[in-house]
């Protein structure tokens, strides 16, 4: 195992950030627990209208320890959802293809394995909940059926046992009158309730990894709060690891210990949440933090902005992909050299050439 490369991935919170870059060899394979999920150099392509393929995620690597919660943060087109689908092995199912990299789950490399083996991992190994909970449930079957379906397939329960299990799971996600509601169809549930059902469905198979793709984006703020609370509870009770995909750093702060920020198809910064929020090492992270509107904190009623727009896949600039929008960019340097994801002074990883020269603003307190 290439340990130098291993550093790319900021270790979990338990490892002091500063200790890492000084002596990576000190962290021997024996002491260091095997990561639950190891994503290495994953690139994903999608077909365009012509016959070309355009890269939408490039060389993304990260690791997730058992029980850890980590966020992939980015705006539209950053590749965060594509990355999460690649982890689930659903790239082909969504029309794309994996052009490089590997996904290792619980010590088993899954990349290149036949679909059949992926299907054994999806469910009992890892499960996923989506942005549109209402659309993620099949309108033609009762929610109980849809939960029971998973457990019958993966845990081999009988029909009756599966029914009991689905009611139990609905109770776990705090749906009142669970036994009755299991017999209802998805259209009788609100968005927040559907997301609870989704969580129940995924957790029914006792997965070790839960991937949540913008699980609260389509919901009202008050409902968002309850779903985040529920996810935290579920994590505490079951010890499931959480890969949380979001565009909203404020939501991420509620639930994640570690954050990887994505921009234009690559990870541009990865650090423990505390570091990322208080001393970001990439101008984009800093800009994102500044554009979060917060009651009572907007100076002269203007939001700070990041100029320009997000480049679409296929139109990424040659140098630093953020350079055309970056107030700190230097011509001849930032617009020509594509920066590597490197360890910076805080111990995190940043894809900014000037990370150690700049003192970027963190979140305002």
């Amino acid at each position: 195992m290439d340990l130098a490369k291993n550093r790319d991935v900021a270790a979990s919170d338990t490892v002091p950030a500063t200790a890492k870059d000084s002596a990576p060899e000190a962290v021997s394979g024996a002491e260091r627990p095997t990561p639950l999920l190891d994503v290495r150099d994953v690139s994903v392509e999608f077909p365009t209208a012509g016959r070309d393929w355009v890269t939408s995620v490039q060389n993304v690597s990260f690791q997730l320890m058992p029980g850890e919660s980590m966020a992939l943060v980015g705006e539209s087109g950053s590749g965060k959802t594509v990355t999460s689908l690649a982890v689930m092995g659903l790239t082909e199912a969504t029309g794309g293809r994996l052009s490089s990299g590997s996904v290792t789950f619980d010590g088993n490399e899954l990349t290149g394995r036949p679909a059949k083996e992926w299907r054994k991992v999806r469910g009992p190994g890892m499960g996923m909940i989506f942005q549109q909970p209402i659309r993620s449930l099949n309108p033609a079957y009762t929610v109980g059926d849809q939960i029971a379906e998973s457990v019958r397939k993966h845990l081999g329960l009988s029909r009756r046992q599966a029914e009991a299990k689905s009611v139990e799971m609905l109770e776990m996600v705090q749906i009142p009158r669970a036994a009755e509601r299991a017999k209802e169809y998805p259209h009788a549930f609100s968005g927040g309730m559907c997301q609870r059902v989704m969580i129940a469905m995924v957790m029914a198979c006792n997965p070790r990894l839960l991937i949540a793709d913008e699980p609260t984006t389509a919901l009202d703020v008050t409902v968002q709060e309850t779903i985040l609370d529920l996810l935290r509870d579920v994590q505490q009770q079951t010890g499931v690891a959480l890969l949380f995909i979001s565009h909203d750093l404020a939501v991420v702060a509620e639930i994640c210990q570690r954050v990887a920020v994505m921009y234009a198809g690559e990870v541009i910064e990865s650090a423990p949440a505390v570091d990322l929020f208080f001393r970001p090492q990439h101008p984009y992270s800093s800009g994102l933090l500044a554009s979060i509107p917060r009651p009572g904190l907007s100076v002269d009623r203007r939001l700070r902005t990041i100029p320009g727009g997000i480049p679409a896949p296929g139109t990424w600039p040659a140098g630093c992909r953020f350079a055309p929008r970056c107030e700190f960019a230097q011509s001849g340097r930032c617009d020509t050299t594509h920066p590597p994801l490197d360890v910076v002074s805080t111990g995190g990883l940043s894809r900014c050439l000037r990370a150690d020269e700049l003192a970027l603003d963190g979140v305002v307190t």
Partner: protein, 277 residues
């Protein structure tokens, strides 16, 4: 006198139909809502989904016909206006929609879209219209080189700027903004909000700003109307609402806004980097 005065409007919709297609099962979308909007002022209407806030915005323009109540715009009774008069009124009250990708006709160029209000309401020549739409595009921060583009070629933020340019074409006194930044990315959202703010200051526009995100409201609004289940829950200036919300519902909305401060292992918020050690 206020620019817009909405008094006691009520609107119910029905979702079910019987087998002859008659509507049954009425639900109230908006119940007895009243408010005023002064010239040059921004009134935010906030609430969660189903609160009826979008319906209120559309009723103000009579895009939705209310069941009862009155709407007065600049002294004119909007509800009594006939089709012709209503079209004339609509020169002065415009609207910007939530989804920029569907608020422009995909088969119309950007230039034609921005010039459409001029074509419909004025008798300006084609060249004059083109010149004007180019100027409008410049005004919202887009170059005139976008004139011949189709909406599919633009990003969400750019399209929302086009929609703003179109709304400005006839020098309106009021613009109803229906969640204008909800569909935009965080980094682009701030740009559009700031543009709206700047246009308001320069042109003295009044905004009826429909929004689900209370956090944004503070940046743009002068006054806030909090709605729930079709009714007004609380009304006040931005300062009142944020500093001293009177109603429990408003307090809940405010406290549910996620705070971008990470939590420690105990679930407590960390407010500075020092606390970690």
């Amino acid at each position: 006198m206020s620019l817009l005065e909405v008094k006691d409007v009520t609107k119910s919709f029905s979702t079910k139909r019987d087998f002859l297609g008659r509507r049954i099962g009425w639900t109230h979308a908006v119940k007895g809502v009243s408010f005023t909007l002064d010239a040059g002022e921004c009134l935010a209407v906030v609430g969660e989904s189903g609160a009826g806030k979008s319906t209120v915005g559309r009723i103000a323009l009579r895009l939705i016909e209310p069941d009862s109540g009155s709407i007065t715009f600049d002294g004119v009774d909007v509800r009594a206006a006939r089709a012709q008069e209503l079209r004339a009124l609509r020169q002065r009250m415009q609207m910007i929609f939530q989804d920029p990708h569907s608020s422009l006709d995909p088969r119309m160029t950007i230039g034609d879209a921005v010039a459409e209000p001029l074509l419909v309401h004025t008798d300006r020549s084609r060249t004059e219209r083109e010149r004007q739409s180019a100027a409008l595009l410049e005004r919202v921060g887009l170059g005139s080189r976008y004139l011949g583009r189709y909406p599919a070629e633009l990003s969400g933020g750019q399209l929302q700027r086009v929609a703003i340019a179109r709304a400005l074409a006839l020098n309106p006194a009021m613009i109803v903004c229906d969640e204008p930044v909800a569909a935009l990315d965080v980094s682009v959202r701030a740009q559009v909000l700031n543009l709206l703010r700047e246009l308001q200051e320069d042109l003295g526009l009044a905004y009826l700003f429909v929004c689900h995100d209370l956090a944004l409201v503070e940046v743009i609004a002068d006054r806030v109307l909090v709605m729930a289940a079709g009714e007004v829950v609380e009304e006040g200036t931005v300062e009142q609402i944020f500093a001293a919300p009177q109603q429990e519902y408003t307090q809940r909305l405010l406290s549910a806004i996620p705070v971008p401060l990470p939590r420690d292992a105990m679930g407590n918020r960390i407010t500075s980097i020092g606390e970690r050690a």
